[in-house]
Point group: C2
Chain length 234, copies 2
DNA sequence: GAAAAAACCTGCGAAAATGCAGGTTTGATT
DNA sequence: AATCAAACCTGCATTTTCGCAGGTTTTTTC
């Protein structure tokens, strides 16, 4: 709750709240929201926990991940500052997935009642939300197809493209703006950490990617996109 | 447009329109909606076509399918009477998937403007829609995990469970209430038609399923659920 | 900065899934 | 009822993916 940032001060212009709520309702959310810092690796919520409200990422990055099965997890989404978190649970009482901070992150939390009231009273807020869901649904269903049809090479290329789109890269060093372990990348791609290493070798030989210690350096994003070129990327 | 069924006569009590719109707005939709029969195999919409409105299935069954790639498609959803169709395109101008009638089907079509107005003026309608999206998103993301982690046996079992949940079975004959080709099942499961045949052999030997010509007979649904038991089904 | 722990790399055999080809059954048409 | 086309079944070789095990590098801890 310390270092409190009001919605008016907040620089995330794409945040749903700033996009859809105005005047009285922006004030209400701004004064009634809770803020909390999570350290890298902290769980923001876990599957099965009760849902008291909804989160917005003020700073940082988060992975949404299924519970482990046969030793494997699946990363369902990467989210960064300005994005909403926990929206899958709307209308439900318990979370279905886990959310883990990928770096130190500051989250804004709005309780259910206030959120529902804002939906009812700010049509633009509700509408943006519906559009957002439609877009997320489309992307998730595309990913079903990717997992079903892509080979490992394509899946790994897609995992890097996805990470790049989610977090971007440092324009000078061309390094991915987040630290992902081989296992994290495997959990995005839907394969094993060993396969990620093997594909990294290939991509390095093809001058698509370089490695510096554990960091990924993007040499040729277009080249990666060409690998998955037959599939729709949006 | 012939055989017109008004919303008041309609027996699909779970339809979003009947659940969320009342009085004046139910009348407006009822009188302004279009109805159209599609024959088995007809395309209801195709990827890339402009979106003029949204569909509700009055009778019949539909598959939503990605465009073919390397000779493979992916069935993204099965939908039957009472369900909404085309909601992925909200806020967009062109469809992202194809919808094909699996049997002769009657669809109700509501144009964009009327639909948007109803959203704005019937809060329950908009709210139900948001909850529906949240639920669909959750299910789609679970399917990403299934495609990434399940083996063929589990995927095929899941495809039968999904078909059963989507369309049900005849209580006397225990036959699936829809005719799906091996290729259709493969496109749900995310594998090839040959694998479906092979798994059908196994399931038949295990007395989980029987075959009558090309129809599937469910002998032991619990047994199928046990195969995917480690995975969350919801 | 040394020691310990964690993450990463790589070769290889095993397992799983695929794709083809040829034969069989089913359903539609006349 | 005969014919034809489509859908289905099945064996087998090939390809792809996996998972272990042991060694190496990087990061963390004290």
């Amino acid at each position: 709750m310390k270092n409190r940032i009001t919605c008016h001060e907040c620089k995330n212009e794409k945040c749903f709240v700033k996009q859809g709520c105005f005047g009285e309702w922006l004030n209400k959310i701004s004064t009634n929201k809770f803020q909390h810092w999570y350290k890298k690796g902290d769980y923001i919520f876990r599957e099965g926990e009760p849902i008291y409200g909804i989160n917005f990422i003020q700073q940082g990055g988060v992975k949404v991940v299924t519970t482990s099965l046969h030793g494997r997890e699946q990363i369902v989404r990467l989210a960064k500052e300005g994005e909403i978190l926990g929206h899958r649970g709307l209308g439900r009482t318990a979370y279905y997935f886990n959310a883990v901070a990928l770096m130190d992150s500051l989250l804004c939390f709005v309780e259910n009642e206030l959120f529902y009231e804002a939906c009812m009273n700010c049509p633009k807020f509700a509408f943006n939300l519906i559009f957002f869901y439609a877009s997320e649904l489309r992307r998730a269903e595309l990913r079903v197809k990717y997992q079903a049809q892509m080979n490992i090479r394509e899946k790994v290329a897609m995992a890097f493209i996805y990470s790049y789109e989610a977090f971007g890269m440092n324009p000078e060093t061309k390094m991915l703006n987040i630290s992902l372990s081989r296992q994290d990348i495997a959990d995005i791609a839907g394969t094993t950490a060993e396969q990620i290493t093997r594909q990294l070798n290939d991509f390095e030989n093809e001058k698509l990617i370089a490695r510096n210690k554990r960091d990924i350096i993007f040499l040729n994003i277009k080249g990666l996109e060409d690998i998955v070129g037959d599939y729709k990327i949006e």
